[in-house]
Assembly symmetry: C2
Homo-oligomer: 252 residues x 2
Amino acid sequence: MPRDAELRQSNTHVAREIAKLIVSGVWHEGWTLPREIELASQFSVSRTSIRESLSVLKAKGLIAARQKAGTHVRERINWNMLDAELLEWAWALRPTEEFARQLTQVRRIVEPEACAICAERGSDADLARIERAYREMDAAGMDSRAYSEPDLRFHRGILTATGNDFLVAFGATVEAALRMSFDLSTLNPGAPRKSLPYHRAILDEIWARNPDGARRAMHRLMDLTERNIISALSRRHGEAMAAADASREHDA
Amino acid sequence: MPRDAELRQSNTHVAREIAKLIVSGVWHEGWTLPREIELASQFSVSRTSIRESLSVLKAKGLIAARQKAGTHVRERINWNMLDAELLEWAWALRPTEEFARQLTQVRRIVEPEACAICAERGSDADLARIERAYREMDAAGMDSRAYSEPDLRFHRGILTATGNDFLVAFGATVEAALRMSFDLSTLNPGAPRKSLPYHRAILDEIWARNPDGARRAMHRLMDLTERNIISALSRRHGEAMAAADASREHDA
DNA sequence: AGTACATTTTATGTCGGTCATATTATCGAA
DNA sequence: TTCGATAATATGACCGACATAAAATGTACT
């Protein structure tokens, strides 16, 4: 369990907590955060650990430090929102509809084009890898968890097949989007599974070395994904409303 | 001078050096790097400083550490190549044609779409900001340095106007591409300046709230940029060849 | 011999403290 | 009032020790 192990480590935990305060806006842009010693006592860790946490957040563009002047929150424009951990934290801490909308919008821009490039230039070995991922998705049945993992490999496979390191790096964004879908799949069971034939269509176009068709097929999958996310979120919204009504009745 | 100040700081320097070894492939994927104590003596800094450097590289996805097992280079798929510093390092350390090609390819995918969204949804205040950046580009004349800075603001302005945090984060990639163009502008003076009317055309389409036109106009700018980069790189290649010939003559 | 379990080893993780450095803030003299 | 010297202070770097987890080794038992 590498992820859990990481979370258990104190510096990762502290980094996450501070990131939470920043991403949620409690510590807004330009804000000078408490001195390292004060942070250390607030989080009950040593100054060394605080410094390691801060250096992680510095690396992700959230904060910057200057001697004597202190450490301040950088403006959003410098935040590396395409970073894997930051995406994970942002969704886990604030699973908003806005986040989902924006993430889906970026996927719609990047993935169809990547898919076209893959159809044009992907090696047969790349395509075989994607095919394997597809078969595992098919074999997963209705288990969202078992479906989600090869699904990510399918999309990462396409990005990797482009041979473009920056598109490969975009895999972190896709991963975040799929995690989001997975989180919402309890509200909309079976929705992921419905995407299987769309994946088949994409793969067929790629095998046929048809860039335009591949782009369109990926675009249709993005449409479906967007519809699923929106309906899951509105359902969540509805449940929240119902819960509020129930609590009002209970109060009365 | 925040950038210079940062570079002077020892942990940033060490992080850059180690990143160089990893990005250039000297320390390949899966490689277990020397123990922290050994790194400390190699780089003549304390273990504390090494640890801060490593935590930066961990944050960027280049390496991962496990107690007792050591620290290893993660596979490329986990590298956050869209990170601002990593982009800067990668180009500074290995200014290859492949890097330029890939970076340009990603811009071609993202920026035209962002431009269309900007034309559709950007606020008048957003557009005014882009207009101001354009005017400063115009006023910069033939000075590449003075032209480059508002150029970045122009493109960042479009990304910001989309209201999408992930597209905003893509600004780091655009920044890297413009820095690359600037570095190559000594080989191809005046090339950046030729892009001015293309920027005007983009702005006109955005003001006209014409998404399709804006997308096409941005696409034309990307075409021009790609041509400029390729010609500068082939010129550099030619100069390298000439230098090799000269040295051969000298040897003979 | 081979396997399951306990023990040792070791590299990263955490701690507290000290000193260095840069930059802000303060104070004093012209 | 302004400019320059000085003091205060928050981050940056260093050190040495101990904690922890996991790999490697050793040991007992089948």
